[in-house]
């Protein structure tokens, strides 16, 4: 994650640009553009969550809640008050950022992994609120008729148009995040990752940086939630349950948390697995996910994105043995 080459990001941008056109030509993968919209939405969350796990060394088991708050704030403000969707998206980001600060700050000041349990509890509470506050959220039935997005009279009303909108967001966030990592703040984060005590003694305000990363990751999840709501025009609580939070963890563990591409690879693979390739398992796919997470944690601690590095190291070690 230290540096991100111009070549890989250029190649990836090229891939995204031609993707809808190629998918449209091949009947077998025609629906892949739609799935790729979700991959983009999830990428927004995993980029932030990967930063939190890989750099701050903290784990959140409640990001589905921030994703859900983004979606519900957008949905409620647009359908009940008729406000401009972009403005609502901005309000959602502010609200989520403040809530994340309130939830994260106390537990991140403590040593250890209280954040995992605090976010788990928070996620379940928010899920219950989505279900119970029927007057606002529509309860388990959810909310429909959420308007689509438009900009200066241009409507993002087809899958292809929305695809480019979402991936536009992803590239902006990707480049912005890489810039953070390469700034002073990024250096502080890397120091925290290597040794919290050493970073502390060099004058890095460790809790402050951890809270910043946590709030940043929550804001990205909120943005993703708003984009999700305006894409499907319908939301209900089951999208934002505990299992989605765990799925996000699986994406990051599988892709690799120490490399920004890990977030993209993980989001892509898991989304295609759950939407396309695991249909055969139906609801037992949870066993597959558990197995993936366990195998990756034991054998691939750096995820798929760390695989080239691992192979290289193996190669070098073998050479030095000769």
């Amino acid at each position: 994650m230290l540096r991100i080459g111009k070549l890989p990001i250029g190649l990836f941008a090229g891939f995204i640009l031609i993707f809808p056109w190629v998918a449209g030509k091949i009947p077998a993968i025609q629906n892949y553009t739609d799935i790729m919209v979700f991959v983009g939405i999830y990428c927004l969350i995993t980029i932030g969550l990967g930063l939190l796990m890989g750099y701050a060394g903290q784990i959140s088991v409640g990001h589905a809640a921030f994703y859900g708050i983004g979606a519900y704030v957008s949905a409620i403000l647009t359908t009940r008050y008729g406000l401009n969707p972009w403005f609502c998206m901005f309000v959602a980001v502010l609200v989520t950022g403040m809530i994340a600060f309130l939830v994260g700050a106390p537990s991140l000041k403590l040593k250890g992994h209280y954040l995992a349990m605090a976010t788990l509890a928070f996620g379940i509470i928010v899920f219950i609120i989505f279900n119970e506050e029927t007057r606002w959220t529509g309860g388990p039935d959810g909310m429909s008729d959420i308007p689509g997005l438009s900009l200066f009279g241009f409507y993002f009303d087809t899958i292809e148009k929305y695809f480019f909108l979402v991936w536009g967001f992803v590239f902006v966030i990707l480049i912005f995040t890489v810039n953070i990592i390469q700034s002073d703040a990024g250096r502080a984060l890397r120091a925290i990752h290597t040794s919290e005590a050493a970073a502390n003694s060099m004058g890095v305000n460790v809790p402050r940086f951890k809270i910043l990363v946590f709030v940043y990751s929550a804001i990205l999840a909120s943005l993703a939630g708003s984009l999700y709501a305006h894409y499907l025009n319908f939301i209900n609580p089951s999208t934002f349950d505990l299992f989605f939070s765990i799925k996000l963890l699986i994406m990051i563990a599988l892709g690799g948390m120490y490399n920004i591409w890990g977030a993209v690879i993980g989001a892509g693979l898991i989304t295609f697995l759950s939407n396309e390739w695991l249909h055969y398992f139906e609801e037992f796919e949870v066993i597959v996910y558990g197995a993936i997470l366990l195998v990756v944690t034991i054998f691939l601690p750096h995820g798929l994105a760390g695989l080239p590095g691992m192979v290289k190291e193996l190669f070098v070690r073998q050479k030095s043995n000769e």
Binding site: G57, V103, L110, H113, A118, V286, T297, I298
Partner: protein, 295 residues
Amino acid sequence: MSGQIFQYLVTGITVGSVYAMVAVGFNIIYNVTEIINFAQGEFVMLGGLIMVFLHVSLGLPLILAFPATVVLVTMVGVLLDRLAINPIRQPTVLSLIIATIAASILIKGTAMFIWGKDPFDLPAFSGRDPITLLGAVIQPQYFWVIGFLVLVVIVLTFFFDRTIIGKAMSACADNPDAASLVGINVKKMVLLSFALSAAIGAVAGITVTPISLMEYDRGAMLAIKGFGAAVLGGLGSFPGAVIGGLILGAIESLGAGLISSGYKDAFALIVLLFVLFFKPSGIFGNIEISRIKRF
């Protein structure tokens, strides 16, 4: 009205006894390894469902099915350590937590595969004729749940204070490096802590199933509430776990009865968040200890 409140309290203390047992399980593993075991609730779920299988489906008598269930769940605990915790080569707190999360969804998925999604009932140990006391209706099974909590506490106190293995485990909790210097096999103690806390989880699951039934996806909620009890009492403290569990159960029962039943599951979690925010050391914990611990 006072009868009703007494009713809520009795129910709350019974449910709280289950949370207390889960919290004790958290503490045993946390004290030895400093891992927060996210799969703790799955032991309770497995205890209930395996008991249903042995006692109801196979027709084994209670006196045989109970210990057999505890042994089987203990084996799951041993497998959890051997297959998920022990193989991690460079363990970090992060990877250990992720491993227990992975194990918990694996266990949950497997339980769904075996038992399906329906809840299962278990005959109460001594019938279901309720006793009326001070205007509250009390099921005999309540006494079994509370009684087993007391038994677990007595046995564990004896184990940690009087036996050499128990003392060795406590030594690992204080300082694993020093413990291994004096010849304690830390890895064995870790394994033992998982076995022990699985066994306690099984007892909780077996005793509560006749009251609240049991289904495959109950684990996560039990785990988070048990953790809430452990934090409320002070993470690592056994008396704290018991008192934390009972208080949490009472708050949940009173909240569901008097305020809103839709938010029943939220009360305990809100208490957990408040404790984390305002007094993370809990009632019996020591803030210094929670700072010194590696995580």
